[in-house]
């Protein structure tokens, strides 16, 4: 075990542990790309990594890419196609095994808001948000189509809300079979990985509950930072700390030290 690591590094490693070797996986820019390429560098050497721009077979060089078409990623791609191919033929089709998305807000049913922050509910009439965010990007497509997906989010009360004000990317919607009724090919978010721990959905109600917490955190801290009455799984456990190998692999990927700032 290494104890000299940052919270964001633990989050990235915990996320990367969810990725299995050989899977077809889609990563966004930033944290999710670091988590994904950590998995490739550590335990999933044959993960089939793609971006929503249709960049296949690339491994970032020279630091975290600024974007999907950043030359740090374009430099060693084996194939460039298109958004229609990547998000359509490979993700919305149900072919992609796992995606990773971020969130400005997430709620008890794993619904994600990345569109905007309003003062209170939007109401009957749509109005501009007080704070405009980045919109859906490919996250909605991943949320609808990927066999499962992971949500990475900083664990703060303002982000963990009872009900997001705008559902950008559907989790389990109102819970229960609400998602199933829409007939999405993807089965929904399998975990929310935060800066404090890991939440997973109850198989029936699809409400997210605390599954595990990081060694530096604890149930109380997590409850204090969650904006709904978070339930506990039957066997809440401590997430194993990063091994030296894991940390070394992550830091090779995060060569510009984004997670260590």
């Amino acid at each position: 075990m290494s104890t000299d690591y940052r919270r964001q590094e633990m989050m990235a490693i915990a996320t990367g542990r969810e990725i299995r070797d050989g899977e077809l996986a889609i990563f966004g820019v930033g944290l999710s790309m670091l988590a994904g390429y950590f998995a490739q560098a550590h335990h999933a050497p044959r993960v089939r990594a793609m971006t929503e721009g249709g960049v296949y077979g690339a491994t970032p060089v020279g630091g975290l890419p600024w974007g999907i078409e950043c030359n740090r990623l374009a430099v060693n791609a084996m194939s460039f196609t298109s958004a229609l191919d990547a998000l359509g033929c490979l993700v919305a089709s149900g072919r992609c095994d796992v995606g990773i998305i971020g969130a400005a807000q997430v709620d008890r049913f794993g619904n994600v808001n990345t569109t905007g922050i309003w003062d209170g509910p939007i109401g009957a009439s749509y109005r501009p948000p007080k704070t405009r965010l980045t919109g859906a990007g490919g996250a909605n497509d991943i949320a609808c189509g990927a066999k499962r997906y992971l949500i990475m989010v900083s664990h703060e009360p303002k982000r963990f809300v009872d009900r997001v004000s705008y559902i950008t990317s559907p989790g389990y919607l109102d819970g229960g079979d609400a998602r199933e009724q829409l007939g999405f090919v993807g089965s929904g978010p399998s975990a929310i990985i935060t800066t404090l721990g890991i939440l997973r959905p109850d198989p029936q109600t699809h409400e997210f509950q605390l599954d595990a917490y990081f060694a530096f955190s604890g149930i109380e801290e997590i409850l204090a930072n969650t904006g709904w009455d978070l339930k506990m799984a039957a066997d809440v456990r401590v997430v194993p700390e990063p091994s030296a190998e894991e940390l070394a692999a992550l830091r090779r990927v995060d060569e510009t030290g984004m997670l260590r700032r």
Partner: protein, 330 residues
């Protein structure tokens, strides 16, 4: 004799744009290929009231929104990826100056495909069940909105899915790496949705980082994803995507990306940016001087430069490409 479709950027904007049009670009990515130079010229010629169709936001839309040229926009992503929020677009939305209609990135690609195929609608298996379906910024008083992504019944299974409306913008200004004088074009890096956009738009103007001899196209016809037969005009414009990247040609200009976005975060900053980086140059050479010859050299020697190697023998020298542009105008 081959057609010569090379015209200047100023001429392209004069001929092919008007106030209030549906203007599409940015069928690339926030940090990648986009015909940003075309947006600068739209501002120089003071186009207003644009309805912007950008698959994803870019610095071009960020600038056009900040400068007040856009009143409506549709896109799938409104940020700047690793460079954070798009301050110009963000402010314009928050202030109600731009009404942004939200879709996902796949939705935008599908809507362009539907425009390309002239379909009345395209099946939607994404965006349904979320507020992307229920909230319509262009029709704010209807909730849940049944008109943005209406439901429809699959005639085979009886299952309900959604329908997106096609996009058929009046003009697409598309950044490509290489073009010949007839408008045959090669893109290096992901197409994102430039292929679909080139077929969906009513008119297509290419902004090419370099002009090549047509022999290059005949050597690599499978790379020519935009054939000249659907192109109205070609503009020779090195660093057309600057400060964004053009794989094989130049890296992203990190310093300018940050400075530009910071400037667009305020009205004063935007005014200064327009003064310094939009209205300050007289012609293509002036534009390149503005970027800075040293910076150009530095950005051009990135790690992806090898991607351009196969095509270098067909690149027309700067003076020759400029001369062909002049010839075409005569």
């Amino acid at each position: 004799m081959p057609l010569n479709k090379l015209i200047t950027l100023a001429e392209a904007v004069r001929q092919h744009t008007w106030d209030g049009m549906q203007y599409a670009s940015g069928a690339a990515l926030p940090v990648g290929s986009d015909a940003i130079a075309f947006g600068r010229e739209l501002l120089r010629q003071q186009r207003r009231g644009l309805h912007a169709i950008f698959h994803a936001n870019t610095q071009q839309l960020n600038l056009l929104a900040a400068a007040g040229a856009v009143t409506q926009a549709e896109c799938g992503f409104s940020g700047l990826e690793g460079f954070g929020f798009a301050n110009g677009l963000r402010r314009a939305i928050e202030q109600g100056k731009v009404v942004l209609e939200d879709f996902s990135n796949l939705a935008m690609a599908l809507r362009l495909l539907a425009g390309a195929l002239n379909w009345p609608f395209v099946p939607a298996t994404v965006n349904i069940g979320s507020d992307l379906q229920y909230r319509r910024a262009f029709e704010p008083n209807v909730h849940p909105n049944p008109n943005k992504i209406p439901s429809l019944t699959d005639p085979f299974s009886g299952r309900q899915i959604g329908a997106f409306a096609p996009l058929r913008p009046d003009l697409a200004a598309i950044h490509v790496t290489l073009a010949d004088q007839e408008g045959n074009a090669i893109m290096l890096g992901t197409e994102w949705s430039r292929f679909e956009l080139s077929r969906a738009a009513k008119r297509v103007v290419l902004l090419a980082d370099a002009i090549v001899h047509t022999d290059c196209m005949r050597q690599y016809p499978n790379l020519v994803r935009i054939p000249g037969i659907i192109v109205e005009a070609v503009v020779y414009c090195p660093f057309a995507a600057w400060p964004q990247a053009s794989p094989g040609m130049y890296d992203v200009d990190e310093a300018h990306m940050k400075a530009m976005n910071q400037a667009l975060g305020s009205d004063d900053g935007t005014a200064a940016y327009v003064r310094d980086y939009v209205e300050s140059y007289a012609d293509l050479d002036g534009y390149l001087d503005l970027i800075g010859r040293e910076r150009i050299a530095e950005l051009s020697h990135g790690a992806t430069a090898f991607l351009l190697d196969p095509y270098r023998r067909w690149l027309l020298p700067h003076a020759e490409a400029l001369a062909m542009t002049t010839a075409a105008r005569a």
